[in-house]
Each structure stands twice: as C-alpha cells, then as structure tokens.
C-alpha cells in the first residue's frame, strides 16, 4: 500500500528544491512562572538527503528543543515558536495545519529518543507499538501490521523476533529496546531521522553496536540524519558536518574533518581540548571555566563571553553574526580568524 496519506500531503511539491530539511532563524521560548526562557534564538540547520548532521552542545543549548520543534512535538504551552521557518522538502511546516503535520511525523520524518525504556509504552507489547505505525499511517490490518513488526525486528537484528513480538518493553535489554526504537523510527522509511542522543543511555559496549546499526540502515535507506550527541568520537565516524550550539544559537558549523583539525570558535576549541587523550596522560585535563548561561538572562553581546578566554570588550556589547569562514564553514566569533590560526 504505497499511497500513504503522507505522500498526499507532500505531493504539492513533487520535485524538491534545495535541502531535505532547512531550518531558518528558528526561535523558541518557554514561559515559566519565573519568566521567559529563550531556548532557541535563531538557529539554522540544513540537512540534505543522505547527509548526516551532528549537533553538539551542552544541556540547555537548544539542540533537543530545536529537534522537537522540527518534529512538531514541542509542548505548547509552555513552549512557543516565536520566529523562523522549518522547510521540509521545501514546504514550511510551521504554516501547515496540525493534521497535515501529523501525517508527516513518522512517515516523512521520525525521531529516536535517548531513553528507550521510558520512551516505549510500558503496557503495550512492542509488536503493537511497531505495528501501530502501519495501522495508523497505511490503514493496514492488525494482523498484517504484526507481520510487519516481526520483519522490522528482524531487520534491526533482534533474535527470535517472531517469539518476542508479543513481549513488553521491560522484558528487553537496553540495547534491544533502543533497536526497537530504531525499528519504529525506520518503519515507514522516512526521509529524515532525528536521533536525540540515541546511545547515551546505553552501556558502553552496546553503544557502538547500536550506532553502527543506525548508520548502516541510514545508508541503506539513503535517509538524512540529524544526530544530536555529545560523543565526539561517534561524530567523527558517522557525521558529514557538525553544528555546535551554545545558549540557543549555532556558534560554529563546519564539515566534520575541518572542525577537528582547526576549530573556528573558542567554545568548539574548548570542547575538543577537554577530550582526555591517552598521549597526555598525567597532564591536567582542560576544562571550560564557568557555567552555561541561565536562559532567562542570557549575557548581552556574545553569550559565551563570560567563559571565553579570548573575550574582548566588543564581545560584551555586540552579538557576533555567523561569519563566513569559507564556503562550507561559519563561525559566530568576532575573533574567528585568531581562533582558527591560533
């Protein structure tokens, strides 16, 4: 049954101009009892078909919020999108009706969450939860959907899938659960996957297996992938380009290898230098001083200035634009040249 309702929504624009996903100037804020928290302040993300974008940053840098805004699963209220556009295959998702967006979720773009145990419904069998995708999006019968679920579980290499399809999430190991999350996200072969720290909650030994599986299936299905992570090692292996976020802004974007060779923003540099390395055994680890900013009181000028070793007066007054380093690189630092060459 190929004619999904999702395709009906997207058919308005058959040929795709530009990128698969193009987030432009996105702004999100949260209203709390103590004031307005500006979680995302003009973020641009671009992902082409078949490309992997890695998004790096500390908690509160706005990476997860951006991802949820793209998926359309932000809790509103308290969240509010105050500006920008999210173009998916050239169409602005923010201008769509909710029922249209719903059809894109799962079928056009899908999301993998960090904690598979809490992200799977504890009282429904994994077969039900996987099959639900086909029942809802393709109107498949429950019996066929179950067969599909077994097929998917096989595909993510869960042993004895046919027997385990009726089991519940808590009966699987952490790695197996995350495979089920991946199977669910890939079930309708979407064009874009957003993986929000997909391996953080797993044991180190299974992290690599799950990541490899995700990367392999992504290649097979030629999907775009947004990988939100703080594991710089994973990034080097699977990503094509990197966006580093800080206080709801992008501070640097670059092709993956350039950034490792020579960062163009002091924050990126700090992140890279804080990786412990075996050849530096015995030396003190580098640490970025200070705390991430309070999103209700983001410092004026460059948000990173209170923690930046290179900060000058101009950093405390003028917010840096995204300077063009070269055709593929951008850096939001007044002194990117000094950083790049220093």
């Amino acid at each position: 049954m190929p004619a999904t309702s999702y395709e009906a929504v997207m058919s308005a624009e058959p040929d795709m101009p530009g990128s698969l996903l193009d987030v432009r100037g996105l702004q999100v804020e949260f209203r709390t009892r103590d004031g307005v928290a500006k979680a995302v302040n003009g973020v641009d993300w671009t992902v082409d078909a078949g490309e992997t974008l890695a998004v790096l940053g500390e908690s509160g840098s706005g990476k997860s919020v951006t991802a949820q805004a793209v998926m359309g699963i932000l809790d509103m209220p308290p969240g509010r999108i105050t500006g920008g556009e999210i173009l998916f295959k050239g169409q602005d998702l923010l201008k769509m009706r909710e029922d249209e967006r719903r059809k894109i979720r799962g079928a056009g773009m899908a999301m993998i969450f960090q904690d598979a145990l809490s992200s799977l419904n504890p009282v429904l069998s994994v077969g039900d939860q996987l099959g639900e995708m086909f029942v809802v999006h393709q109107g498949m019968s429950r019996k066929d959907a179950k067969a599909k679920a077994v097929e998917l579980m096989d595909r993510v290499r869960i042993p004895a899938a046919a027997e385990r399809v009726g089991q519940y999430p808590h009966q699987f190991s952490g790695g197996m659960r995350q495979r089920i999350m991946i199977a669910m996200a890939l079930s309708l072969e979407p064009d874009l996957i957003i993986a929000d720290e997909p391996t953080t909650a797993l044991d180190v030994t299974v992290q690599a297996q799950v990541m490899d599986l995700l990367a392999e299936l992504r290649r097979e299905l030629d999907m775009g992938l947004v990988l939100i992570t703080h594991d710089l090692g994973v990034v080097a292996d699977v990503a094509d380009k990197i966006a580093v976020m800080y206080a709801g802004r992008i501070v640097e974007t670059a092709p993956v290898h350039d950034i490792y060779r020579a960062p163009a923003h002091p924050y990126t540099k700090g992140l890279l230098e804080s990786i412990p390395r075996l050849d530096q055994k015995g030396q003190e680890l580098y640490a970025i001083k200070g705390l991430p900013p309070n999103l209700m009181h983001i410092p004026p000028g460059c948000a990173f200035n209170p923690r930046c070793p290179m900060a000058q007066d101009v950093c405390r007054t003028d917010a840096p634009p995204l300077y063009e380093v070269n055709e593929e690189r951008r850096s939001a630092c007044h002194f990117w040249e000094a950083t790049l060459h220093g």
């Binding site: 809790d75 059809k103 999301m111 969450f113 904690d115 809490s118 992200s119 009282v123």
Partner: protein
Amino acid sequence: MGRYVIRRLLQMIPVFLGATLLIFLMVNVMGDPIAGLCGERRCDPATAAQLRKEFGLDMPVWQQYLTYMGNVFTGDFGTAFNGQQVTELMGEAFPVTIRLTLVAIVFEIVIGIVLGVVTGLRRGRPVDSGVLLLTLVVISVPTFVTGLLLQLLLGYKWDVIDPSVSTDARLDELIVPGLVLASVSLAYVTRLTRTSIAENTRADYVRTAKAKGLPRSRVIRRHLLRNSLIPVVTFIGTDIGALMGGAIVTERIFNIHGVGYQLYQGILRQNTQTVVGFVSVLVIVFLVANLLVDLLYAVLDPRIRYA
C-alpha cells in the same frame, strides 16, 4: 501467577480471622448481648441466665468465637434473636446494598473518570480549577449532610424524587442515594485521575506516540488513558468494600432496607449474631475485592505480570 494467587489467598485468612475476632470481641466484651432482649426493662436474673445458656453465652469468649466460626463455615450464621435466620436477613439485605453500591460505582467510573480526564488534560484552565475546588467541597461536606441536603432539595422542595426509597429498592429509586454514597469517592476518583493524567501527559512514551504521527485521539485513548487509569481502577476496586460498609449512612437517610439498615437494627438491639455475621461478610467482600484488584493490576500492567 497461580502461586501469587495462592499466596494472596493464604494471606487473607489471618486478616479475615483477625478482623472478625476484633468485631466479635467488640460486640461481646463491650456490651451485654442479653440486655437488648428484654426491651427497656432489665432482665430478671433467672431468665438472663437461661438465655445465656441457650445462646452459649456462658462459655468463655474464645470458645464462643470458635463455635461461631465453626458454624459460619458450615453456612450457619446463627439466628437473630427474633427467630429469623441471619442468612435470611442477609438474603434480603445484600441484594439491595449491592444494587446501591453498583449505582455508586457506575457514578464513580463515569463522572469521576470523565471529570478527571477533562481536568487532567486542561491543567490550570478555569475548568480545572473549578472542578478541583468542587471536589474539595464534596470531600469536605460529610456524606450525611450531602444526603440530607439532596433529600431536602430533590425530595421535598422540587419533588423530583421520593424522599424515602420503597422496600423493593428499584434501581431508579437508588440513583440519588447512589450518587450520595459515591460522592466522596467520586471526588477522590476525579482528583486521582487528574493527577495520573497530568503526570503521564509529560511521560516520554506519550511524546513518542506524538512523534509517531498518531492522531491526538489515539494518543490519548491508547497510550495516555491506558496507563493513567491503572491506579484509578485499583482505587475503585478497593472502594467497593468501603462503599458497602459506608452505605449505612446513606441507607439511614433514604430509609433503604439494606445491609446498613439491618446492621443498625442489630446494633440497636445488641444482636451479636446479626452484627458479627454481617460484618464478617463485609470483611470477606472487602478482602475479595482487594484480591481481585491485585489480579486486575497484574492484567493491566505487564510489568507486574512478569515481575
């Protein structure tokens, strides 16, 4: 699962014996069962002694209890002092109270859950605050006051219902008494459902369900409600016993001839066998209801089932 059920059944036995013993002691030690028999006057000592012997009241209390329990297990709940079998009284009273309890449970389920879901999904809105305040008021006003007020308004002032229920206790007559009986629990169910829904709407799996592109109605029905209602179902289950025991007030107000009425008469006349018999059955109902709730819990929540 089977072993679990057996363990629970075994656990019920000491609780049942303890609770009935407690009631038995209360009735026998605290009061003189003979005193009620001779009406207002004091019994003359000879008659009293004969009556005691006749009812086995000259034995020590523990022996009386054992004899009584032995009889109960053969289905003999004894005789009320007016000569009627206690089982006969039960046969008349329990159907009425069960009907009343059923009406109350239906109210709890329908109104309580609906209000809880509505307010849980609209936290902080005027509907939510209004219903929350209302539940607090309902919890605060004792059942007998609610009952008397509804009887006053609906029965006397507006003449919508008959202020006292006929001996048949038809279902339609029991609607208002059922609502009165349910009122406090109803408010608890509403609050419990609201809290549960509110907690679960923020759960990760609900976010996943949204991310899967499920329609909102399906997210709520299949994912949110299924999880949120587990504690509510257990509350309602355990409430069955409490409702039947608490029916005594409602039955008094609306003059319903159910368990509460018989118990009240039994207590007034200090009729041990009636009181202990009825209370024992109520304790059994309570324990069985609790057992069923635990089993139901396991059915609803696979994490318990396979634990």
